[in-house]
Point group: C2
Chain length 638, copies 2
Amino acid sequence: MNANPEFLAANAHVDEAAIKPLPNSRKVYVQGSRADIQVPMREISQSDTSASYGAEPNPPIYVYDCSGPYSDPAVSIDIREGLAGVRTPWIEGRGDTEVLSGLSSEFGNERLHNAELQSMRFPGLVRQPRKAIAGKNVTQMHYARQGIVTPEMEYVAIRENMRRQEYLESLKNSGPTGQKMFELMGRQHRGHSYGAALPETMTAEFVREEIARGRAIIPANINHPEIEPMIIGRNFLVKINANIGNSALGSSIQEEVEKMTWAIRWGGDTVMDLSTGKNIHETREWIIRNSPVPIGTVPIYQALEKVNGKAEDLTWEMFRDTLIEQAEQGVDYFTIHAGIRLAHVPLTANRMTGIVSRGGSIMAKWCLAHHQESFLYTHFEDICEIMKAYDVSFSLGDGLRPGSIYDANDDAQLAELKTLGELTQVAWKHDCQVMIEGPGHVPMQMIKENMDLQLDWCDEAPFYTLGPLTTDIAPGYDHITSAIGAAQIGWYGTAMLCYVTPKEHLGLPDKNDVKDGIMAYKVAAHAADLAKGHPGAQIRDNALSKARFEFRWEDQFNLGLDPDKAREFHDETLPKDSAKVAHFCSMCGPHFCSMKITQDVRDYAQAQGLSEQAALTKGMEVKAIEFVKQGSEIYSKA
Amino acid sequence: MNANPEFLAANAHVDEAAIKPLPNSRKVYVQGSRADIQVPMREISQSDTSASYGAEPNPPIYVYDCSGPYSDPAVSIDIREGLAGVRTPWIEGRGDTEVLSGLSSEFGNERLHNAELQSMRFPGLVRQPRKAIAGKNVTQMHYARQGIVTPEMEYVAIRENMRRQEYLESLKNSGPTGQKMFELMGRQHRGHSYGAALPETMTAEFVREEIARGRAIIPANINHPEIEPMIIGRNFLVKINANIGNSALGSSIQEEVEKMTWAIRWGGDTVMDLSTGKNIHETREWIIRNSPVPIGTVPIYQALEKVNGKAEDLTWEMFRDTLIEQAEQGVDYFTIHAGIRLAHVPLTANRMTGIVSRGGSIMAKWCLAHHQESFLYTHFEDICEIMKAYDVSFSLGDGLRPGSIYDANDDAQLAELKTLGELTQVAWKHDCQVMIEGPGHVPMQMIKENMDLQLDWCDEAPFYTLGPLTTDIAPGYDHITSAIGAAQIGWYGTAMLCYVTPKEHLGLPDKNDVKDGIMAYKVAAHAADLAKGHPGAQIRDNALSKARFEFRWEDQFNLGLDPDKAREFHDETLPKDSAKVAHFCSMCGPHFCSMKITQDVRDYAQAQGLSEQAALTKGMEVKAIEFVKQGSEIYSKA
């Protein structure tokens, strides 16, 4: 059990495990149209192919990197100071915001002036909050609709491209085997995109169009200048979110910051702080000031703390104060459960597992207690006014998501989804950025219906799903029950997958669980990118497979999602360093190795005149392999 | 690293971890039409619902049980003696086999009379091998085609039904809430079966028809009377296989037996012994004599050992001797890579990862060295003669399966698959049971093509796939990359999923890895059963969800695939026993709990007249939720 130890800000320190660069990896930055657009990527270098496989160079590959400055040895990190505000000049440059003289929220001021909190409060430079000048709208969607390409848009375009063209071009010039390498690394299977329109090369203008259309969002609060912008939309790489947050029962501020830095190290594209215990205002400040990725929250959780857990005591006024409090801290997206209307609540009465979303059940309880329409729904345009003054994106919550296979795709869930579609139109009227949350527990054959209805009813606003879990019978393994569903819904068009850890339904995830959840979801997201046919997605698979085939063990580890784990597993059976350059593995042993045989095949094919054989089979259709048919006819006992 | 310690048969002992019944579980047997048909199931008992949720009884549920007599406290296990031969009277009763006076294989006799092996040899009662009387065919397919319903067929029919009808009927009589329980537990979403024909209730006659048609197999060597019969076919529950086996580099006989008992404890439906080190004949004997599940092997592995790893020295004669040696030990299915023809080999020359199947590369090397057609192909009918004399099932190997995303569904793979389809017809001519092995590494959008071609070309012979792995970039997590693909291909129609452990590509799996692999695959198989709409598949999900909703923690753990893990995870955050009866969990804490709120909703719904609401929404179509539309129109700022 995680105790809740006395936390002293003065003692806070960065997790050493979070700042070590990954093996053979180097942080590189691609510069955009202005000097201060420096887009980070991770370059993974590789060794040359050994002589027995052709002695060719293997140029480094480039992968998407969420880890921020933590993995850059040139940057010195002190979490008591927070990260630099890379976006500050962009935000200032637009001239549509003003720095306020103090916090606008009552609660924020209360916490700021509470002397008892001094020892745990984030000690870094206190930023004065920034807000849109009266009458201005500072959302990325607003700019996009005005035809403005922001630095954020250009940044994500460069980021999504991952230097693919440059990498492939460089292969051609990598020596005598350059053309072969170009073809090997660049080849990719045709995807099935289910209607996604994936451009061959991402441009800032395409990003702008997608945002203007509402089909993508860049969560980027003007009070979170520390973020490295990222984009969420069906025509971009599939993203994943990692949830962290303490509860009344455990974990400290230091632990939560560590979970965040740990999560982004392994590939969390955004992080949601779902804290429900005490001091969540202070915890959040620490997380945001140190986070290079967008931070999401569910403000109703904090609002509930303020009324001591009595949902019926919630009011619009104090919820509004909470939104402003968090918006001025820099939260990038808010889960708002405005789709649960009073009339939906009774639809859940005959469910197997009722309402499993915390936010959903809070609002359901409020509606019932007052027998009134939800204040989130009735005040939705008021909320839009706040969102657009700070550019907080909506994550319209699925408070009625199914908590069991039994409840999947039921009337309650779909009624809420329909409402979210209506609210999307309202938010878009205000140029607010919107994504839509989705289930939950759904058996495989019912997943696609979720995606299809969401695309239809929510007009292609990005879908952001929790799993879905494809069976209920495996507590302890729900990262897997849900990765199965996540890969599928990602393929069908979901833009961001909210991870599920092995502790789901059982307890609070610790750092190991966070990593396990992220790994399962990186796998799901990448499998979805491959299936959609995202340009360049296969490069990393190709590079790793080549390393595997050529027994470049270290490269195989380093090109993988988790070099540490791969190395550890390998070393359990073959611990000696020599084994890592050995041309065999522990499955077959040195005696016989299937990989080695392929070289014989190649030699043979060449000797037999592969070109003839290739000519014979060229154009061979899957449905009619002529020489096999012929084989069938000549089949006879020898 | 697992050493290869001196193994002494006299010291062999059953793994204590394998014989402990799972918590709140009891072995029950359902009797068939004769006294000696006793079909095992696991009964999981549950506690009553607490007063706050309605104080109703929750009758036990029944789940499929692969663990054999190990989990029956009434049976005393001594692995030095082996298991009882439950099928012996059935086999004898058919009167078409004879007990031989000795082993037919040269190698078998050599090992039997090698005094040096005495200390490690299985010490139990040495069974004289059994063989079909000359001219007889003893395959289950042969009986099925004669119209004979064997005890094995009846057994699997009972087993597949899992007492579903009896369970549901019993619910109705379980007190005042019986009808409600019947509806809650019995409800299941309509599946999408992709052409599978899943009968509402399994009958022995249906089993017979499926086997006669070649659409299902019961792997059941007459020399393996210890097995509890199981069936593999697209119209039955999706099964999983666990691979075990030592290599030249590690693990002992005791360890391999423990991996087998461990694998079946967690749900392995069959086990393949892929040993490649020394003493594989003796290891296999220990495994078979102690295994209640079918055992599969790849005989070419052992044949290769006999020629000291030199593939070109393999001959039909010594391969034939190996088949007979293993058939007389009781191996239930053989992977035979007869689909790799000489002409296919050059098709792999331009692959990223060449030939990754060990068996495939052995045969490719042989073909190249001799520039001859594979002897497995030319002697295929000779092999059939052996198979039908012992009822060993074919598992036609996919020696050219892709070892990388790059190589997925390529000409080499498909040429082999086509050949496997032709060989299926040949085997069926001999009434031999056949299943077809499948890939490998395949991105999601290309999985269905594999299934469709297999169904077409192999005329619905059961498909048995390794994964497929949906990306190459996650060494250390390939149980997950592949569970994603396995769930999908299982849904599309694959009958058995060969597990992949986290150690895939990296090292030999230990017991932890075996369990992790099995869990990922039990999840995939069950997700597939739900998606196909297998009758009754949802009962366990429903029961577990009800327990979860009612905070019956112990029941939630026990109904899951892995009660130990679920309990351990829960206790990490809330270790106190009291927490396991607490009506909250560590995610929300005692302060506020979403589950609790649903009770309020139910009370409210009742007070508001749920019946009206229900009437309002009854027949509500997904595409047109009227009251939501209405909500849209009345939307206005409050």
